[in-house]
Symmetry: C2
Subunit: 149 residues, 2 copies
């Protein structure tokens, strides 16, 4: 089931308001960079398998897809209002100037990661690769627009 972007955004905001109040901008930035590191760590293994640089391992592929699906919803609160500065960051100020568009991109990531994790449970290499490409596309679409080189 595909979750509507607005619903995801509402959910994410609702679950992070309580905590958001207590974090300084530099802590938020550090948090989001850490979340991205964990996503990238798992994504790197998936990518290496898809490219044939690592032996295909369906169980490992499923595990790391599941981890990305768990991590994806966690990045939202890493972009809390006011965290555009406070520490070195690759996040462009455009994120906070276009909150709705950014929310949509986060929702796309959450949906793509969930779709991949679901497909990966069945150990179908061709389908895994197809969904992985969609996930990679969701990452790229947001990075191209909102991440400094």
């Amino acid at each position: 089931m595909k979750i509507a972007s607005a619903a995801v955004a509402a959910l994410l905001f609702a679950t992070t308001m309580n905590a958001a109040a207590q974090h300084k901008p530099e802590a938020v930035i550090h948090y989001r960079q850490s979340a991205m590191t964990l996503i990238g760590w798992n994504f790197g293994t998936l990518s290496a398998m898809v490219k044939g640089k690592l032996t295909w391992d369906a169980k490992e592929f499923a595990l790391r897809s599941e981890r990305i699906a768990q991590l994806a919803p966690q990045i939202q609160e890493g972009f809390a209002k006011g965290s555009d500065k406070g520490a070195e960051t690759d996040a462009k100020a455009d994120i906070w100037a276009n909150p709705e568009d950014f929310q949509n991109k986060i929702a796309d990531l959450v949906n793509a990661s969930k779709a991949l994790a679901d497909v990966a449970k069945s150990s179908d290499e061709a389908k895994d690769k197809e969904e992985f490409k969609k996930l990679a596309g969701a990452c790229k679409s947001c990075h191209d627009k909102y991440k400094a080189d």
Copy 2:
């Protein structure tokens, strides 16, 4: 159900061998620090609620407990052999000198976080606090022995 330490350790090793080969020590260290940051981020909110510094919010408590339960099994591969040095780290070399004891502590953390996440689904504040203390104990027990001040 409590998972036996050895079983957890075996599982964790089994699922991380493929990926471990491709990471440099500094990347492993960065990964484990990122995982700890995410756990600490969520733990901080739980702790603030338990101490009454944040308004008690059972839904938020359950969400962050669940996230810690998802993250806890992810720290294991952050302590891969050879990652005792390569970047600044608070991890003591004793970790790699006492692999079995360290595995047991990781397993304790995984079990305590899972127990908390399970209890937190029922929104029973007293039980939540009780399980939270056990989780905090699992963190402390390992940090006291294996984390530099």
